[in-house]
């Protein structure tokens, strides 16, 4: 099967999510992309089943006194796409550092 081809922006966002930046604001900060690019790109990635989203558990958010966030996670197809994108754009691996938990 051919590896799915992503734009550089989509690949950057996918790479960021795969490295642990799992919500919109976090992705925006680490990639430096504007919100008008990040959020629609996240929707497209979710539609194409490269990422899936889920709401943070309410208890967890309430205990930290903040609203629940929508978290994104890379799927198996997304991991394959991210790998293909890293081969296609080698500099991508150096653009986003791994998230320190």
């Amino acid at each position: 099967m051919n590896a799915p081809r992503l734009s550089h922006t989509a690949a950057l966002i996918l790479k960021a999510i795969s490295l642990g930046y799992c919500y919109g604001l976090d992705v925006m900060e680490i990639t430096g992309l504007p919100s008008g690019t990040v959020y629609p790109a996240l929707r497209r990635l979710e539609r194409d089943e490269f990422v899936e989203s889920k709401w943070e558990p309410e208890e967890q958010a309430t205990s930290k006194q903040r609203p629940a966030r929508r978290y994104y996670e890379v799927t198996r197809e997304g991991k394959a796409a991210a790998l293909a994108a890293t081969q296609r754009y080698p500099l991508l691996a150096h653009l986003v550092p791994e998230k320190r938990s």
Binding site: L25, E29, P34, G36, P57, E58, A68
Partner: protein, 290 residues
């Protein structure tokens, strides 16, 4: 699971969300609003954003949430209209408008163009039925077998759609033939007139072949384009068993079986409505059990 109450946001944010959420399809509005309330709350309570001024950040987020809402709206339209008869007709109409604007531009208005074309209209009226006849005669000789119940109920809808498509294709071919020969018309009017008819026949034949093919590959109930083509059977067993392609209606009305080659026992494509499909599956199961 209980949901936490909506976070407290500045009045501008609340107003912005209230205005922009109208762009979001109703089914997704609540979740969109919840997601953006959370994002805006986190944006306001973020320490890492001190490099930018609050105003610039807010402007950026305003663009982001608007683009997000617009994306959801266009995606909803895409899901609703992809493959529909309405989209097909609208697309052809759009092409006619664009081609007409191209034809009108060098002739300084419709009146000049129509007066120069008035005398040629008769030719086009004579040529059109001939082109339609040739297109039908040269199209695939395979017809589609349909159940008698389908014929009565959906025949009129299918014919109305097909007629609309044929008329639009002929008009488009006419306008495109004008566009193509426009540069030649000032220098060689007689040659341009000849080529206009020639190009009209050419474009109309291509267009009508497409219209016939498109009509064959649409659901006989809802007129949606059929999708997910699947090869069924083995080509090496051509004379022993059925092999060909099956296309499905995404709304589940039925499937179209197109044989790879015509045989004496399977000469035409078959439209199998969903009830007939179930019947066939039940028959197969019965035979397997038996």
């Amino acid at each position: 699971m209980s949901q936490t109450p909506a976070p407290t946001l500045p009045p501008f944010d609340r107003k912005l969300l209230a205005v922009v959420e109208r762009l979001v399809p109703l089914a997704e509005r609540e979740e969109w609003s919840r997601a953006w309330q959370a994002e805006l709350w986190h944006m306001h309570h973020r320490r890492g954003l001190h490099h930018r001024s609050a105003l610039i950040t807010m402007a950026d987020f305003s663009i982001g949430l608007t683009r997000d809402a617009l994306w959801l709206r266009t995606e909803s339209w895409r899901r609703t209209f992809t493959g529909t008869a309405v989209l097909c007709i609208a697309f052809l109409f759009g092409l006619i408008i664009i081609a007409s604007l191209v034809a009108l531009a060098p002739t300084a208005g419709w009146r000049t163009l129509s007066s120069s074309l008035g005398e040629q209209c008769l030719r086009y009226i004579v040529v059109s039925p001939l082109v339609i006849f040739v297109a039908f005669a040269s199209a695939s000789s395979r017809h589609i077998e349909q159940g008698s119940s389908n014929r009565g109920r959906f025949w009129l809808k299918q014919q109305a759609f097909f007629s609309a498509k044929v008329i639009q294709v002929l008009v488009l071919a006419f306008v495109l033939s004008l566009d193509t020969c426009q540069p030649l018309h000032n220098a060689f009017p007689a040659t341009a007139d000849f080529f206009r008819i020639y190009f009209f026949v050419l474009f109309a034949l291509f267009g009508l072949r497409w219209a016939i093919h498109d009509q064959e590959q649409r659901c006989k109930h809802c007129l949606h384009s059929l999708a997910t083509p699947a090869r069924v059977g083995r080509p090496s067993h051509n004379l022993l068993e059925w092999n060909g392609t099956e296309l499905n209606c995404m709304r589940g009305h039925g499937l179209l079986s197109i044989p790879e080659m015509e045989t004496s026992w399977c000469q035409s494509s078959r439209w199998i409505a969903i009830d007939a499909c179930r019947l066939r599956v039940d028959e197969d199961r019965y035979l397997e059990i038996g």
